[in-house]
């Protein structure tokens, strides 16, 4: 078990946004975090990364508490975060976006990332903001890998992408899981998430309301309609 959240509360100013969230991500598994808009999915990822105003409870990574650490220290310990809307540096070129993350590269090099996403090779001098959605997503994932993470936090990687590119992203995530990486995946699109994930957590109003294997959710779609009101 590598990343564990136990009874985590989070606050933006005076707003209490997470209420006792518990979940875990083990090496070599993909955990999908599902929920309605505003349920607290993104906040959960931001809380792990130390990007909320205040957090309480237990967030352990490999037996070390992440609570007292600042964001860059958390990244250096082996967690990488790919924010929603892809979050590349729009004023930096593709090459710069990669180099800025590669300052402490260990397992992953820029060459590895370009091998994983050959499209990026031809776009090196293009500004991040001038890339298409799919290219930005590849760049954001590639950049996250350069910190050599053992846990990858992904926020809606399929959002706004063409189906073909979604397939590329899914393939990549499967490959990373195969290499032993733990992945916490936030998804709006439950179908994509269930196709990929080993386990599923559903969050509503800042609390985890359901936990189970992805297979069992696929067998009982009513779980989704109950909590997500889709279907």
């Amino acid at each position: 078990m590598i990343l564990t959240l136990t009874g985590v509360d989070a606050f933006y100013g005076l707003h209490h946004v997470l209420h006792g969230v518990s979940l875990e991500v083990r090496a070599g598994e993909i955990v999908a975090l599902l929920g309605r808009n505003g349920a607290g999915k993104t906040t959960t990822l931001r809380t792990i990364m130390g990007l909320v105003d205040e957090r309480r409870g237990v967030i352990d990574y490999d037996g070390v508490s992440l609570l007292g650490l600042r964001t860059h220290e958390i990244t250096r310990r082996g967690l990488a975060y790919v924010p929603e809307y892809r979050g590349v540096f729009s004023d930096l070129t593709v090459a710069e976006n990669l180099r800025i993350a590669a300052l402490r590269a260990r397992d992953w090099t820029i060459a590895d990332v370009l091998e994983l996403f050959p499209t990026l090779r031809t776009l090196q001098d293009r500004k991040g903001g001038h890339l298409s959605g799919g290219e930005q997503q590849m760049l954001a994932i590639g950049r996250a890998l350069l910190s050599s993470p053992r846990v990858l936090l992904l926020d809606e990687p399929s959002q706004g992408l063409a189906p073909l590119i979604v397939e590329t992203v899914i393939d990549t995530l499967r490959r990373l899981r195969g290499q032993g990486m733990g992945i916490l995946l936030v998804e709006q699109n439950a179908e994509t998430a269930l196709e990929l994930a080993d386990r599923v957590c559903i969050i509503d109003q800042g609390s985890i309301v359901f936990r189970g294997a992805a297979e069992s959710v696929q067998r009982q779609p009513e779980i989704l309609s109950t909590y997500l009101a889709v279907g």
Partner: protein, 310 residues
């Protein structure tokens, strides 16, 4: 490649500068060009607006003045000491200011500026207070204004190259990433506060250095050198020239100093012109004068292209 041409253009302008302007004005333009370029390191490249750059300009000027008057030290030592002092002060002030972002960062830089202004204002035995600190004499070899201009021009080029190296370095890349999105820069693994402090300190070092040259240029450190209005002027120069381009602030500094030194002789309400220009820039030309050049260039090349099209 294009940077090289701009650099050559600048060298050319420096060569004719003292023949189209009084040497003293030309020198002052170069001094403030360094200040504005340094301000752009934090404003344009790191995304931090400081209303306290005059703190470091003033401290550099007073340090150089006092060391020249009382210790009679040689010029390189004076310049180095003034720069080191401004840099050290920036580490202390910056360490406090970068704890906050946005408006609160601005207010902290402003508050420190006020504090140091009042120290300079009230410590009359040291600074001369409101009357300024006169008697800062340049070495005999540099007494001539043209000779001093040549020295400042060379130092300006050195500062320009150094700052260009900073922005092109891996540090410069992190600065731009922070300007783009702080949280993201932290998530990539960079200590955002430390890099902001680094940017702030490098900027202050050049600003203090320029302040030292300023005291030697006029032979006096006026209290205005450390006044917060000076900090505002520095922000003006940077934005009018264009904070989005490395060389932009040079144009802003030249325009500002030229306007204040030439037009002010004819019309003492010259800041009104400045106000109008600033309003126009903010309303129609966010990228400053550099944006105007860019648009002009785009127009010319577009026409040229149309003319040669079959």
């Amino acid at each position: 490649m294009r940077d090289r041409w701009i650099f050559l253009l600048i060298v050319g302008v420096l060569a004719v500068g003292p023949f189209v302007q009084r040497e003293v004005i030309a020198t002052e333009i170069l001094i403030f060009a360094v200040v504005a370029l340094a301000n752009n390191l934090i404003l344009g490249y790191t995304g931090m607006l400081s209303f306290g750059q005059a703190t470091f300009f003033g401290v550099g000027a007073y340090a150089a003045g006092l060391l020249t008057i009382h210790a009679g030290l040689p010029l390189p030592v004076v310049l180095a000491a003034a720069t080191v002092l401004a840099t050290g002060l920036a580490v202390l002030i910056g360490a406090v200011c970068v704890q906050r972002i946005g408006l609160y960062f601005i207010m902290l830089t402003f508050a420190f500026n006020q504090m140091f202004y009042f120290i300079a204002y009230s410590w009359t035995t040291l600074t001369g207070g409101e009357d300024g600190l006169p008697g800062v004499r340049r070495p005999a070899a540099l007494a001539d204004d043209l000779t001093f201009y040549v020295l400042v021009a060379l130092l300006f080029l050195a500062c320009l190259l150094l700052m260009k190296r900073v922005v092109d370095s891996p540090w410069g890349r992190v600065f731009r990433a922070i300007r783009d999105n702080e949280a993201r820069a932290a998530a990539v693994g960079h200590d955002v506060r430390r890099y902001k402090l680094l940017s702030f300190t490098i900027s202050a070092a050049f600003t203090g250095f320029a302040g030292a040259l300023y005291s030697l240029l006029y032979g006096i450190v006026p209290i205005d050198a450390i006044h917060w209005l000076r900090s505002g002027d520095i922000v003006f120069m940077t934005l009018i020239g264009g904070s989005g381009h490395f060389f932009g602030p040079i144009i802003g500094a030249a325009f500002f100093i030229w306007l204040s030194e030439t037009v002010s002789v004819v019309w003492d309400r010259w800041p009104m012109i400045l106000g109008v220009v600033f309003a126009l820039v903010v309303l129609f030309l966010r990228g400053g004068v550099v944006e105007l050049i860019r648009r002009g260039h785009g127009l010319v090349t577009a026409r040229g292209g149309a003319a040669t099209a079959p």
